[in-house]
């Protein structure tokens, strides 16, 4: 189905948001060519950040121009510091810091979309700022 995904992303005039397979091994060069921004989601602990860092290198090899990290489930100022230090040390651009949010867990338990369960949740606010960064001003 790899060729299908690339064709869809390339052929539509819509904003496309693709939820990829967990590993990047499945991402072909053909599909990657059509991706403008790859967001790599990681959590603020060492193993997760290391994984994100490896994905970052792989994505760069695939030729994706803009590869950026999104730190998720950030609980404390110390978590945020860990993420920012790691990103700076590995030259990973940090697109967003999304706080740990009970609303995500609660929405999941109820089988609801987070944005419907609690549109004003702090995590949603962080994702709104991310959207503003990706496509300013709309």
């Amino acid at each position: 189905m790899r060729g299908v995904l690339g064709g869809l992303v390339a052929g539509t005039s819509r904003v496309a948001i693709v939820d990829l397979e967990a590993g990047l091994e499945h991402l072909s060069r053909g599909t990657a060519r059509h991706v403008e921004t790859l967001l790599i989601v990681g959590e603020p602990y060492f193993k997760s950040l290391e994984t994100a860092s490896r994905s970052f290198a792989l994505a760069k090899d695939l030729g994706i121009a803009s590869v950026r990290m999104v730190a998720n489930k950030v609980r404390t100022p110390r978590d945020e510091e860990t993420v920012r230090e790691f990103a700076a040390r590995h030259a990973l651009p940090l697109a967003a810091v999304v706080p740990y949010d009970e609303a995500v867990v609660a929405a999941d338990e109820r089988g609801m979309a987070l944005i419907e369960y609690e549109p004003a949740a702090p995590s949603v606010a962080a994702i709104r700022r991310l959207a503003e960064q990706l496509v300013p001003g709309a």
Binding site: M1, R2, G3, V4, L5, G7, L8, V9, G11, T12, S13, R14, V15, A16, I17, V18, D19, L20, E21, A22, G23, L24, L27, G30, H34, V35, E36, T37, L38, L39, I40, V41, G42, E43, S48, T51, A52, S55, A59, V70, N72, K73, V98, V104, D108, G111, M112, A113, L114, I115, E116, S123, V124, I127, R128, L130, A131, L134, V135, A138
Partner: protein, 111 residues
């Protein structure tokens, strides 16, 4: 804008992708949210209820065709323009937002 979201299972990749798709639609963009994960659950985070998500069809085989790529390897590709594919196979979720679940093609009677 074409955005792909990657990350280890459990990191929150799907919640972020789905919420980002909703936010983009709220901001006035026409958006297609594409679930390319082999364990698809983007439907929930964009706001499709679980019952409807469970009834999502496989991709009709006649919308795809095999073509050789540059190396001569046969690959499945779209047999119709992307917009037609999204209109016919996508699930409208919300104003301006359509969900596509890639999954496996539906082979129907062809086995």
């Amino acid at each position: 804008m074409k955005v792909a979201v990657a990350g280890k299972g459990g990191a929150g990749k799907t919640t972020i992708a789905g919420t980002l798709a909703r936010v983009m639609a709220d901001r006035g963009h026409r958006v297609v949210a594409i679930d390319d994960d082999s364990n698809p659950n983007l439907a929930l985070t964009v706001g499709v209820d679980t019952a409807s998500a469970a009834r999502l069809p496989g991709i009709p085989r006649d919308m795809l065709e095999e073509r050789p790529d540059a190396e001569g390897v046969k690959r499945l590709e779209l047999a119709v323009p992307a917009e037609d594919f999204i209109d016919r196979f996508g699930v409208p979720v919300h104003d301006r937002l359509t969900l596509l679940v890639m999954g496996q093609p539906n082979h129907g009677g062809s086995g």
